[in-house]
């Protein structure tokens, strides 16, 4: 398969993830859509790494995985903290910081 297919698939997945972040309002689902976007970036990194014939892109994909794990841990901690303070789990209701 051409590398084009992989790159176009990755941009399609990225666009779907971005659309999900705009449409959905539950913070858990927004975190899931962030995972979609990070994984689309990973797919592009690995496809380019295969295209060049160099393993360095795969190292960066693994670093992206580590960053995604950190983001998940902090985000889920925030959601648990919100839930335990009886705040609504809805990003449209949590708008105190809006100017």
């Amino acid at each position: 398969m051409n590398a084009e297919w992989y790159v176009v698939l990755s941009s399609l997945l990225f666009a779907i993830g971005a659309m999900g972040i705009l449409v959905r309002r539950s913070p858990i689902v927004i975190l899931l859509c962030l995972e979609l976007m990070l994984n689309a970036g990973n797919l592009a990194l690995v496809a380019f790494s295969r295209m060049v014939g160099n393993q360095q892109g795969q190292v960066f994909a693994i670093v992206v995985m580590v960053v995604a794990a950190c983001e998940v841990v902090v985000g889920l901690g925030l959601i648990v903290a919100l839930f335990r303070r009886k705040l609504p789990l809805d990003v449209d209701a949590l708008r105190e910081l809006r100017g």
Partner: protein, 189 residues
């Protein structure tokens, strides 16, 4: 054979991604994301990066998704209402997504990368195996490796601080604190 595998995995990845966006229950969203991650692991195998595929399955589809499933079960997977606070958002967002996809595709396909329309160079059987990745991680990319380990430590500490604290600010939560403490401290994968 390779094309068949590619299209099957691409369909799985696209279906999983659409399921995450479209399914109302967050628990089903987590399950759809697991399908998506497995399909991506197949794509990584097709791109001859075995170690990244294994890490994807073990770390992502294993550890991270279990964390998600626990939190969804704890918080309660309530379906969100259809009520739309910003008028027209549900129509504008797919338009913007389509525009983003077209723009990204033009940016990539319109670039002068000649190797994009090839299969890539012939690589040996050792391409993307744990030995090569580990050598790169511990020699050339030692600094990013150490920085990511510090980042993991900081994230674990941050999660403990965020989710493990009780009775500070906002409404108190003494009655649910002991049960929540055991759940609210996720370990880093």
């Amino acid at each position: 054979m390779e094309a068949v595998l590619f299209f099957a995995a691409a369909l799985g990845a696209l279906g999983g991604a659409l399921g995450v966006v479209a399914l109302r229950n967050p628990f089903y969203g987590v399950l759809a994301l697991i399908v998506h991650l497995f399909s991506l692991a197949v794509l990584f195998l097709l791109l001859e990066s075995a170690f990244v595929a294994a890490a994807q399955v073990v770390v992502y589809a294993g550890a991270v998704m279990v964390l998600y499933a626990f939190v969804v079960a704890y918080v309660g997977g309530e379906t969100e209402p259809v009520f739309d606070p910003i008028p027209g958002q549900r129509f504008l967002a797919p338009l913007l997504g389509a525009a983003l996809f077209i723009e990204l595709s033009i940016a990539v396909l319109g670039s002068s990368l000649t190797a994009l329309s090839t299969d890539g160079p012939n690589v040996g059987p050792g391409f993307g195996d744990p030995a090569g990745i580990g050598k790169l991680l511990l020699e050339r990319f030692l600094l990013p490796f150490e920085a990511s380990s510090i980042l993991l430590l900081l994230a674990a500490v941050g999660a403990v601080v965020l989710a493990g604290r009780k009775g500070e600010g906002g409404t108190s939560d003494e009655h649910s604190a002991p049960k929540a403490r055991s759940e609210g401290v996720p370990t880093s994968p």
